[in-house]
């Protein structure tokens, strides 16, 4: 399959990209193209115009402040994997990036593209939701911030308006004592996950947060302050199944089990050996 004919343009700035999106309702943003490319070829996406944002310095920028790190939308998974980006989680971002698809995909795929496409099985969606990250969204009237946990409306659908651009993601800084765990259940290496579990514990904030991918779209984020590593038996599958059900996890029995197992294993990784 080959794409329907489309126009292609490269935007020089976020403002110009937003203007192009506003002026062309049939336009789509092209970042790494790892999802959009196949969708174009399969003719599932038939945009009249592609706005390429991959050469914009402002979207490649990484900024640190006391609160955390902002990572530009077009930073690739590989850059995060390779430690080219300051990591406010002390290595957890690199660990997640390393498991995304294959290296070839990671060298082109971007963190912003992954969030904006909102595939429920995408690694960053669950991971960044668990971390309490925020998406920075640029639009004609300026920019706004949306928690990643609230970014997704459903499978492949976000709160982004057609003329808005996801410009960066801001990840809060964690304490040195914070611990993280991530597990995905995959049929094979590099495939999209059947279930993703994330566990984050920061003693400095007294917080334990779990996140699980859902088949429907937005990841479920569950506060689990009662679960403290090293205190009491670690949660088992039945326990995680209960917590997922209580949080409204919608799936068949097998899907629920996989979600619970992903959480158990993420929690185990977080707790450490």
């Amino acid at each position: 399959m080959k794409p329907v004919a489309f126009e292609y343009t490269r935007a020089a700035s976020v403002a110009e990209a937003v203007r192009m999106l506003r002026d062309n309702p049939e336009a789509k943003v092209l970042a790494g193209g790892q999802t959009l490319g196949p969708m174009l070829n399969l003719r599932l996406a038939q945009p009249a115009l592609l706005v390429d944002i991959t050469r914009m310095a402002e979207l490649a920028a990484v900024a640190q402040d006391a609160d955390g790190v902002s990572i530009g939308a077009i930073v690739t998974h590989a850059a995060i994997e390779d430690g080219d980006v300051p990591d406010p989680t002390g290595g957890f971002l690199a660990r997640v990036a390393r498991g995304i698809a294959y290296r070839a995909v990671r060298t082109r795929g971007t963190v912003g593209g992954s969030l904006a496409h909102a595939d429920p099985a995408a690694d960053w969606l669950s991971c960044l939701a668990a971390l309490g990250a925020e998406a920075l969204i640029a639009g004609p009237q300026g920019s706004r911030r949306v928690p990643v946990a609230s970014l997704v409306r459903g499978a492949m659908a976000t709160v982004l308006e057609a003329h808005e651009l996801l410009a960066a993601v801001h990840i809060p800084r964690f304490s040195r004592e914070a611990r993280f765990g991530f597990h995905k259940v995959c049929r094979k290496t590099g495939e999209f996950a059947e279930a993703i579990g994330v566990a984050v514990h920061d003693p400095a904030r007294g917080s334990t947060r779990l996140a699980a991918s859902t088949p429907a779209g937005a990841p479920l984020v569950i506060d689990a302050c009662d679960l403290q590593p090293g205190r009491g038996a670690p949660p088992d599958t039945a326990e995680m199944r209960r917590r997922l059900s209580a949080a409204g996890f919608a799936s068949d029995a097998h899907g629920l089990t996989l979600g619970a197992v992903a959480l158990v294993r993420a929690f185990r990784e977080m707790t450490g050996p």
Partner: protein, 783 residues
């Protein structure tokens, strides 16, 4: 000089271009003025074709069935009694019979524009009731794929040998019945199908570049469908990126392009995309079995009684026909075992799905799964270890050659020894001890085995009995020296990953002593090679290997004659040794003999054979019933009963392929086949819904094992020569893909045996495993 002959682990010649990305595939061919083709394919599995509305401005670039005047449908009949013929139209005529069937051909400067034309066509289809499942298709009153048949049966194949059910039951102390199923799969060579067709006005010849294993068969098929003389057609198979059986099939796409290039006067190209391959073309493997095994009180196999069904899809494909799998099932189900009573019936059934095509191992993978999984179930039932039963029933080496109950003639081998080595190499007792200890991570482990044999290079009498469009005869090689002493070998078979450019050079080197790097294999072009049915059925090393040897023998005689003259010796005094003619008074290099023949004929002896240093010679098998390579596979798996995740912890292959021409290439063949076998066992499945809509259309939905899913495999070799081939070699190209589903499923069933869980459907996916465990739990709770 390093050893370069038979038995050498020589690096593959062809890898120099493959590994550098310098292969030349159909997709690399660019001809001046070439246009591209895209096809409108049926969106429904069964429907009457109403209006096909084509906008007037593009009518000239779109072709439908009524435009293809003089083009005959593909007809792949067999002469077996009762076979019902299906005519596969090049473009659908009257009705469509599966999703993806070709309806219209669109031609444009680029593929994208051709797809735009496809999208502009408005197709009216009147839906008909769909038959999506082979068992449903067998029932009276099922919708009919071909109305005039009266049912959906291509053919019923049957063998009954010394079988009286009451007598068998009376004799048997034990019996077990299992219903097993192998899911529909899709062959996935790296390179899909592809065609470039052009018309050469000067030669009055159609030139078709196509990604095929069987260029000469494609030529015959094109001639039959297009009404051309075979001499008017040249088929070139350039580098081909994997075949596995799929590239042995004549496709309607090939005929459509061949017809249209002449009509349009420009070269045309069609490259199959992955979606076309997955959903419409490369389907394979879908079988169903109800198998009963009978044993005596000692656990020795007494009888097999089987009813098998093959979902053959909508049409009989050319040249292997819709009866290949069913015919194989009844003849190979007995496996490697010697037992007295046998009955098997196989129904080849038409459904509204793409034609089922032969895939590496063909029916053997399904048969091995059905038989070996049932045998281990029987062993569990008896309370025996799985191999106790096998050792009691395997054909023994002193029985060789052995005619089995289905009249297969096993040529040579020691089956129990292969199994013994597998049992030892996998560390069977150690695995049992580990099982008793339990796993620290809570997973369960299990060990399973599977054995098979692979009939290869079987020829005329076997295929003549089926009467399919292609009956393999004797194989030829044209061999000639070049004026500077190089050797050219021309064969009609095709090498597309097998390494024939290397292994056939090794055969020639063994006879003529010509250095490996000075031997060139020419293949894949009907204009340059002798006729051959091509590369399939693991036949090339036997047939082409035999032909190369015969041609080199004939060349050697001529070289010796000339060499003797040049050495002033009598012919009987000279011999060939390491690339030289050696006589009582001196020696002369074969290359110098060649130079003399071509460049200095004045120096030739007066009685020289004027036929020169170019010969065509052939190979005729002493017996055409084929060679039987065989193997024992052993697997250890760990399974997580909560998620159904399965890990292969260890895998051993003990293979006997007769004399190995290049052991390194053999290992590669086994590894590659094994990866595909693991795909069948664990990942690959093309589901269809009730309307026969394919449910996987990309490689994100259709899972193939990758490098991380294929474990380190230990391969052990035995080398029992075949008594019937030139060097004792046996065909072995398919074996790796045959046993893994059975061995891995047996290992899983061993791991879960005390839960009362048995998996009988391939692939054994995590969901199927978990569901089977749940079912067993419910059964146990209800009891």
């Amino acid at each position: 000089m390093t050893h370069q002959g038979i038995g050498a682990r020589l690096a593959r010649k062809e890898d120099d271009r493959y590994m550098r990305g310098r292969g030349q595939y159909v997709g690399d061919i660019k001809l001046a003025g070439m246009q591209e083709v895209a096809f409108l394919r049926s969106p429904l599995a069964h429907a009457r074709i109403g209006a096909v509305r084509i906008p007037a401005p593009i009518r000239e670039r779109v072709f439908i069935a009524e435009d293809l005047a003089g083009v005959a449908p593909i007809r792949a009949d067999t002469t077996l009694p009762g076979f019902k013929s299906s005519l596969q139209p090049v473009l659908a005529t009257g009705k469509v019979r599966y999703v993806g069937e070709l309806v219209a051909m669109c031609v444009a400067p680029t593929r994208a524009e051709a797809e735009d034309l496809v999208a502009a066509i408005d197709l009216d289809l009147e839906p008909l009731p769909v038959v999506a499942d082979m068992l449903e298709a067998r029932k009276p009153g099922a919708p009919l794929v071909h109305e005039h048949w009266g049912d959906n049966l291509f053919l019923t194949s049957a063998i009954e040998a010394n079988f009286d059910l009451d007598a068998v039951k009376a004799k048997a102390a034990r019996s077990i019945t299992r219903e097993l199923r192998t899911s529909r799969q899709v062959m996935s060579p790296l390179e899909g199908r592809g065609v470039v067709a052009s018309w050469d006005g000067r030669l009055g010849q159609l030139v078709v570049y196509t990604s095929t294993q069987q260029p000469h068969i494609v030529r015959s098929g094109l001639a039959e469908c297009l009404g051309l003389d075979e001499g008017q057609i040249r088929v070139v198979a350039p580098d081909v990126g994997g075949g596995f059986g799929y590239k042995g099939i004549l496709l309607p796409e090939e005929i459509a392009l061949a017809w249209a290039t002449r009509r349009l006067g420009c070269p045309l190209k069609w490259l199959e995309d992955r979606r076309e391959g997955l959903t419409a073309n490369a389907n394979c493997r879908e079988h169903h079995y109800i198998l009963t095994a009978y044993a005596d009180a000692s656990g020795r196999l007494l009888a097999l009684d089987c009813e098998a069904t093959v979902d053959a899809g909508a049409y009989s494909s050319y040249p292997f026909s819709a009866c290949l799998e069913g015919g194989q099932i009844v003849s190979i189900l007995p496996g490697l075992y010697d037992f007295p009573h046998y009955r098997c019936r196989a129904y080849s059934v038409a459904t509204n799905k793409p034609p089922i095509l032969p895939y590496r191992g063909v029916a053997r993978t399904g048969v091995c799964f059905a038989l070996e999984v049932t045998l281990e179930a029987l062993a569990r039932e008896i309370g025996a270890e799985p191999n106790e039963l096998r050792f009691k029933s395997l054909v023994r080496p002193e029985q060789m050659p052995f005619d089995n109950i289905a009249k297969r003639h096993f040529d040579s081998g020691d089956y129990p020894e292969a199994l013994r080595r597998a049992v030892e190499a996998i560390g069977f007792e150690a695995v049992r001890a580990r099982q008793r200890r339990g796993e620290p991570d809570g997973r369960r482990i299990g060990v399973g085995f599977a054995m098979y044999s692979e009939q290869a290079g079987h020829g005329t009498s076997v295929y003549a009995a089926w009467g399919i469009p292609m009956v393999p005869g004797h194989e030829q090689c044209q061999a000639r020296f070049t004026p500077d002493g190089g050797l050219e070998l021309r064969i009609g078979a095709h090498s597309h990953g097998q390494g024939l450019e290397t292994t056939l050079s090794q055969v020639a080197h063994s006879i003529l002593g010509v250095p490996h790097e000075r031997i060139r294999l020419v293949h894949g072009d009907t204009a340059e090679t002798p006729y051959s049915t091509g590369t399939w059925g693991s036949r090339s090393m036997i047939m082409s290997g035999g032909a190369v040897a015969a041609a080199c023998d004939a060349l050697a005689a001529r070289v010796l004659r000339i060499g003797a003259g040049l050495l002033q010796a009598r012919p009987e005094e000279v011999r060939l040794e390491a690339g030289e003619v050696v006589g009582p008074s001196g020696r002369i290099a074969v290359a110098d003999v060649a130079r003399t023949w071509y460049r200095r004929p004045q120096d030739l002896p007066g009685d020289v054979d004027p036929g020169g240093l170019e010969v065509t010679a052939g190979y005729k098998a002493q017996r055409d019933t084929g060679t039987f390579s065989y193997a024992a596979h052993a697997a250890v798996v760990a399974v997580d009963t909560e998620t159904g995740e399965l890990e292969i912890l260890d895998y051993v292959v003990v293979e006997d392929g007769g004399v190995l021409v290049n052991p390194m290439i053999v290992d590669g063949q086994i590894m590659g086949g094994l990866a595909q076998g693991i795909g069948t066992a664990l990942y690959e499945e093309m589901p269809f819904d009730a309307q026969a809509q394919p449910q996987a259309s990309t490689l994100a939905d259709y899972l193939l094992p990758g490098p991380t899913e294929v474990p380190e495999v230990r391969i052990l070799h035995m080398e029992t020569p075949s008594p019937y081939t030139r060097f004792g070699q046996k065909g072995l190209g398919e074996g790796g893909a045959i046993a893994p589903p059975a061995a891995i499923t047996n290992a899983l069933n061993d791991a879960l045996a005390d839960l009362g869980v048995e998996l009988l459907v391939s692939p054994i996916t995590p969901r199927r495993i978990v569901e089977a465990i749940e079912r067993a739990r419910s059964r146990a709770a209800a009891a």
